[in-house]
Symmetry: C2
Subunit: 145 residues, 2 copies
């Protein structure tokens, strides 16, 4: 998700408020600080974060700096979330873990659904005490491209 950085940037209340303000108007750092009840330094740091993810473009005009919101970044993020919401559920057992290892035939033995699921999902989970860090990578290997 190329827009993950944008997502993180606007997930903060202060930065989201900054974006909203700057969509409507052009405010200087002092004005933004007043409106949000913060110091100019705090506002400046947040503006830096927003610039770094490409959400704001600033340019100096005389003493003051003007910011423009890059609305395209917001639209791209929105589009990616729509795509995410449209991701198709993969075919396969709706049971636990969605593992395919067993399904691909590790043993020819016919197993009940329950047996299959247990092996498929958490073959070694049953014995909790045996679960060691080094075993983790060996446990529960699920195929995934």
């Amino acid at each position: 998700m190329r827009t993950k950085a944008v997502l993180k940037a606007i997930a903060d209340d202060t930065r989201l408020n900054l974006v909203k303000l700057l969509l409507k108007h052009s405010y200087c750092v002092g004005a933004l600080a007043r409106r949000l009840g913060l110091t100019e330094a705090a506002v400046s740091q947040h503006l830096k974060v927003l610039r770094e993810v490409g959400l704001l473009h600033g340019e100096k005009r005389g003493y003051f700096r003007h910011y423009e919101v890059n609305r395209e970044k917001l639209r791209m993020l929105a589009a990616e979330l729509q795509e995410l919401a449209a991701v198709q559920r993969e075919a396969g057992p709706s049971e636990e873990g969605g593992c395919r290892l067993q399904k691909q035939g590790r043993g020819a033995t016919h197993k009940s659904q329950k047996e299959w699921v247990q092996e498929a999902c958490c073959a070694c989970h049953g014995v909790r005490a045996k679960r060691k860090e080094s075993e983790r990578d060996e446990h529960h290997k699920c195929e995934e491209s």
Copy 2:
């Protein structure tokens, strides 16, 4: 922004990855923990956050719990971001601070653009040392409904 909580929830890398996995398949907590290289406790805590914002719905089936992603929440968030991107810039001087106090007529004196801007934006910013906490609320009042 009613979906702010959803925005915050998925702004975390781990929770976003959980959502992506659960959109495609049904995994148990153990399987999720393996795939993300975390403990089951960590995964459980993240799943709780996602449930609390309404992004996941879980139900027990036998020993295992199944999770369904509430895609509608993702769509709503996407829609709000689209709306945000479409917010109209307000009419008014594109100069600093976007303040209207002066514009509404504090003095009848005709001022140059520069003079106007300076007063409008940061009337008291010029004398930095005088800026005290108690003065902040008096400074730079901008009209905003």
